[in-house]
Symmetry: C2
Subunit: 234 residues, 2 copies
Amino acid sequence: MLHRSRGRRMAGLTLVEGPKVFSRMVVMGVVPETVLMIEDDDATSALCRTRGWDPVVVSREVLAAASDTVHPRSPVVTIPIPGSSAMRERDTLLLMDISDPGNVGTIIRSAAAFCWDVSTSGTTADPWSPKVIRAAAGSHFGAHLVTSSDPMDEARSLGLDIVATVVAGGDQPTRTRRPIALMIGSEAHGLSQENLGEADQRVSLSMDEGVESLNAGVAASIFMYILASKNKAP
Amino acid sequence: MLHRSRGRRMAGLTLVEGPKVFSRMVVMGVVPETVLMIEDDDATSALCRTRGWDPVVVSREVLAAASDTVHPRSPVVTIPIPGSSAMRERDTLLLMDISDPGNVGTIIRSAAAFCWDVSTSGTTADPWSPKVIRAAAGSHFGAHLVTSSDPMDEARSLGLDIVATVVAGGDQPTRTRRPIALMIGSEAHGLSQENLGEADQRVSLSMDEGVESLNAGVAASIFMYILASKNKAP
C-alpha cells in the first residue's frame, strides 16, 4: 500500500530500503515505524541494538513482498513522512513538473550536496516515493523539502530572485546577493509560458550546437553547482 | 540476441528505439539495417520515405519481442555498431568502472553537449547497449566514443593532463592549456589506488559536509561543464 502515493498519504508512512539508506537515516536521527530484516543482516541488527529498536526477522519472500522492488536489500523499513516544510529565504530549486522519480531523486541528492532547498509542485513525482528515496541515496534526511501549491507566489513573497532555466537562449547563470528560486520545467516540455513570463531572468548552459538537451537531473545539478554562493568562482 | 553484449558483438548490430532517437539517428546520417514500425507510425514512415528505406510494418507484439523493453515505442531499429575510435588530443572522459547503463548513457549525453570525448574501459557498461543508448537520448551519433584496453597509457602518450576525480580532498577543478583526460571511478568504490597513483592531479567538487556523494552521472557532468574550455568563467 505504501507503493502508491495515496496509500502513503493515508498512512503517513513511506518505505526505505537497503543498508546504505538505512544507516544514513539512523545517523540523521530518523526513527522507524518498523524494521524488517533477513536473518543474517548483522549490520542492521547491530544498528537497531544501539538505538533500542526491535527489528522483525523475516524471510526473503516477505522482505520482497513488503518492498516495491523484486530483489530488495535488507532491511526494508517504514518511516513516518515528515510534515511539509514551508519555503524559506534560501536558494530553492522549484521542480515544476519533473515526472521521473529517478530525476527527482538525483536532484534531491545534488541539492543536499550543494545546500539548496527543493520545492515540488505540479506533476512532479512524489518526493517521498520509495523510487525517489532510492535514487536520492539517503539525501532526504538532511534536505529541506517543500511542497508548494503556488511556489512562484511563495518565492515572490520571500523576495527571492525568480530565475527560469531554458534549454537555449538564456543568459549565462550568475547571481545577485539575494537567494534564488530556480525553476526547472518538465523533461518533455520545459517550463510553461506562464511560468516563463513570471521569471526575473532566463538562464541556459552553454552547449554544443545540435545537441538537444541534457538529462533534467544533470541540468538542474549543474545549475545548482554553479549558482551556489560558495562556488561563484570555480 | 542484441539485448546481450555477446550477441551485439557477434552481429555487429545494436537496437535503437522510439521516435526521438530514430529522428536523431537519421539527422546524423546513420543508415539502419532494419526498421520495424507499427502500422500507424506516420512519422517513421515519412522519414524512411525521404531516405529511400523500406520499413517493415509489424504488430505491437512483434515490436515488443524485437525490443528489450516491455512497451517499446515505434520504431525499433537495428543499426551497425560503428568501429572503435582511438583516443585523440581532445578533452576525454575516462570511464573506468561505471557499471550502471543509465549513468553511462547520461554521461554520453552530457559529453556530447559539452564537447568531450568518452573512453570506456574496465567493467563499464557497454556504450552500445540499448539501455545506454536510451539513456543518452540519441547523443551517441555525434559523440566520439573510444574503447580502450589501457586508457591511461593512451592518454599519457597523447600528452593529456591526467586528472582523477575524488569525492573529497581534491583541488578545485581548473585546467591548463593541454587537453584533459578526466578519470571517473566506479559508483560504489571510486577510482582504484593504482589509477589514483597515475594521476597528475586530483579534483573534487565542493559539497556540504556530511553528504556522501553525488550520482556518478551528475558528478561527471558537472566536472565536464566546469572544465570545458569555453566555460572557464561561468
